[in-house]
Symmetry: C2
Subunit: 336 residues, 2 copies
C-alpha cells in the first residue's frame, strides 16, 4: 500500500504539498495539484483515515435501515445513531426500506456489496427474517431497533408498546370514554401487535367489551384509507375516541374526521403512539406516548460497536426503554 | 467470477436449490441451506444483481448528501431521489452533513471508499468546494441540489430563492407592513444570499429603506439564538413582520415571540421559505414559499443517471424550479 511519500516522490513534490492537496488547505498551484492527484490515482492512494481502514479491512461505515425516513421518530433515531458512530470514527449510511421487505433486501445486499462493518435495522416486518439471515450468513454484525422479529434472537433496543398503549387507553377511560376504537399499524410488526394487546388488556380490566369492529388495521407509513374512518363512524355506538398507531396515522385520522365535519377532541378524542412534533404550530396538540428515539439510536450503535470491536458481551442483549405519556388538547374536552 | 452453477456444484445441490436459498423462497432443509451459504462464501459468490454490477465495476449505489435529515424539505428530496433511483435499479445511501463541511468531507471520502456510482449533494456551504473537488478528482459524477457553490460549474437542480423572497415580502407590504425584519440562514449558502437579495430588492422598490439592524444571520438547522429575537424587538420602530430563513427558523421564531408575550400574527406577522408541514395540527398555520422538493430529488437523480450512463448531455445543466407562495394565518390579521 502506497503512502503519502510515494505520492510525493512520483509527483516530484514535497510531502507537505501532497498533504495540502489532500486537506484542501494552503496555496497549491492548480498544475501542481493536478500532478499530485494524478499520482494519487496512479498509486491507488486513498487519502486520510481511509487508508488505515482499508489496511484493517474495515470501511468504518455502518448502515442504518429504517422503514420511513420521513417519520420524525426515525430521523431522531438516525441522529442518535450518527452522533454515537461519529464519536468512534464511524460513518452512517441511511437506508429507507419504506416498510417494504423487498426494498429492505436490496439494502441488505448493498450492505454486503459496500462492506459495511455493521448494520442497525428497524425491520419492516416479521418477514424481514430472511433479510436478517443474509446478514448472519455473511457475518455482518447487526442490532435491531424498535421491532422484534418472531423467531429471531438478536441484540435489540426497543420501547414498551404494551405499557404505552395501556397508559393511553387508561387515560381515555379515566376521561369517561367507553367506546374506544383503535387504528393499528401493520400487524406483521411486533409494535402493532403489542399496542393492540395493551389496548385489549385495559378494556378487559375496565369491564368494557372488546369489539372487533372497533379495530382497524392500517400501516405506520402508507396513506390512511379514509374508508376505515367511515367504517368506524358507521359503528353503533359511534366511537368517541380513537387510539392511533403512530403520529402519521393520528394526523391523517384528524384530517379525515375534520373533512367529515367532526371536531377533535369534542366529537372524537385522539391519542397516539409517538409524538408528532412538539413544536407543531400554533401549539402542540396531540396526546402521545413519546419514546426516547435518540437513545434508541445511540444505545443500539454502542451495542453494535461493542460487537464489532470484539468486546465480550452476553448475547442476545435486550434493552427496553419506557414511553412517557403527554396529555394534550387532542384528548381533553372541558365540557365532558 | 463464479456463478450460481459453480455454487450448486460445490454444494452438491441443484441450481434451483441455490436459487431458493438466495431468494429465501420455497422449502430448503437448514443443513442444505448452510452448505449452500458455505459454498457461496468459499467462491466469493455475490447473490443477485450484485454479481452483475461487480462485473460492470458498478455498485449500483448512489449517495445523497443533505445538510439536515430532520428537515421535511430534505426528507422529501430524499424520497424523490430514491423513487427515481429504484426505478433504474439503483440504491441510495443517505448522508447527513449537519451543515458541516468537515462532516460532509467524511461522507465524500466514504463515497470513494464504498465506490458509489454517483453522488447528489446539497452543499453545506461555499466551503464545500473542496469536497466537490475530491469527487471531481476521483471521477465520481455528481449533481448539486438547492445550493450553488461560488466558482463551481456543475449540474444543479435548485429553486428560485430571489423570486420566492420577493413574493413573500411583497405580500407583507401589501398587507400594510412597513417595518419588516429578516432572519437569514448562514450567508455562506447561496439560498440565504438570494433570499436576502430578494428582500432588499422589494424593500427598495417600495421605497422602504434598508435597515441593517433588521437583518439577523442565523442558520437553517442549528438552534436559533433567542438573543437575535430580543435584538429585533429592541429596534425602534419594532418590526411588525419577520421573514424567516426556513421552516425550522420560523417555528423557533414563533416560539420565542410567544415566550415574550407576543402573538403571531397580531403583534408580529411571520412569513417563511419552505413549508413546515401542511398537516401540522390543528391546522396549517405558516405563510410559506413552498418548493417542489420531491422534484428536486427526482430530477437531479435523472440527470445524474444520464451522466453515469454516458448519455451525451450539455454541461453544466441548470434546472431552476419556481416556488409557490401559500398565504396562511401567520401573516394575516383581520383587524389590520
Amino acid at each position: 500500500m502506497s503512502n503519502i511519500h510515494d505520492v510525493a516522490k512520483l509527483a516530484n513534490v514535497s510531502s507537505m504539498t501532497v498533504s495540502r492537496v489532500i486537506n484542501g488547505k494552503g496555496y497549491v498551484k492548480e498544475q501542481t495539484r493536478r500532478k499530485v492527484v494524478e499520482a494519487m490515482k496512479q498509486l491507488n492512494y486513498v487519502p486520510n483515515g481511509l487508508a488505515r481502514s482499508l489496511v484493517r479491512k474495515k470501511t468504518h461505515t455502518l448502515a442504518l435501515i429504517v422503514p420511513d425516513i420521513r417519520n420524525p421518530f426515525f430521523t431522531t433515531v438516525a441522529r442518535g445513531t450518527e452522533d454515537m458512530a461519529l464519536k468512534q470514527d464511524y460513518r452512517v449510511v441511511l437506508c429507507n426500506s419504506d416498510e417494504n421487505v423487498k426494498k429492505e433486501k436490496h439494502y441488505v445486499e448493498m450492505c454486503l456489496s459496500i462492506r459495511v462493518d455493521g448494520a442497525i435495522v428497524v425491520p419492516a416486518s416479521d418477514a424481514s427474517k430472511q433479510n436478517i439471515k443474509l446478514l448472519t450468513d455473511f457475518g455482518i454484525p447487526f442490532v435491531l431497533i424498535d421491532r422484534e422479529i418472531d423467531g429471531v434472537k438478536a441484540d435489540i433496543v426497543r420501547g414498551d408498546s404494551i405499557m404505552g398503549a395501556r397508559q393511553l387507553v387508561q387515560h381515555l377511560i379515566d376521561a369517561g370514554h367507553q367506546h374506544i376504537a383503535i387504528i393499528t399499524g401493520n400487524l406483521s410488526t411486533s409494535t402493532s401487535r403489542d399496542r393492540l394487546l395493551g389496548y385489549q388488556q385495559v378494556l378487559a380490566e375496565a369491564g368494557l367489551g372488546f369489539r372487533p369492529d372497533y379495530v382497524k388495521e392500517s400501516s405506520y407509513s402508507s396513506a390512511l384509507d379514509p374508508a376505515l374512518i367511515d367504517e368506524l363512524l358507521a359503528c353503533s355506538p359511534r366511537p368517541t375516541a380513537i387510539f392511533t398507531a403512530n403520529n402519521f396515522v393520528a394526523v391523517q385520522t384528524i384530517h379525515f374526521l375534520r373533512q367529515r365535519g367532526l371536531s377533535v377532541p369534542e366529537d372524537c378524542a385522539i391519542v397516539t403512539f409517538d409524538d408528532y412534533d412538539p413544536l407543531s404550530l400554533p401549539e402542540p396538540f396531540l396526546t402521545a406516548a413519546t419514546q426516547p428515539a435518540y437513545n434508541f439510536g445511540s444505545l443500539a450503535t454502542q451495542m453494535l460497536l461493542e460487537v464489532i470491536d470484539g468486546v465480550p458481551v452476553p448475547s442476545p442483549r435486550k434493552m427496553i426503554l419506557q414511553p412517557e405519556v403527554i396529555i394534550r388538547k387532542s384528548s381533553v374536552t372541558h365540557t365532558r
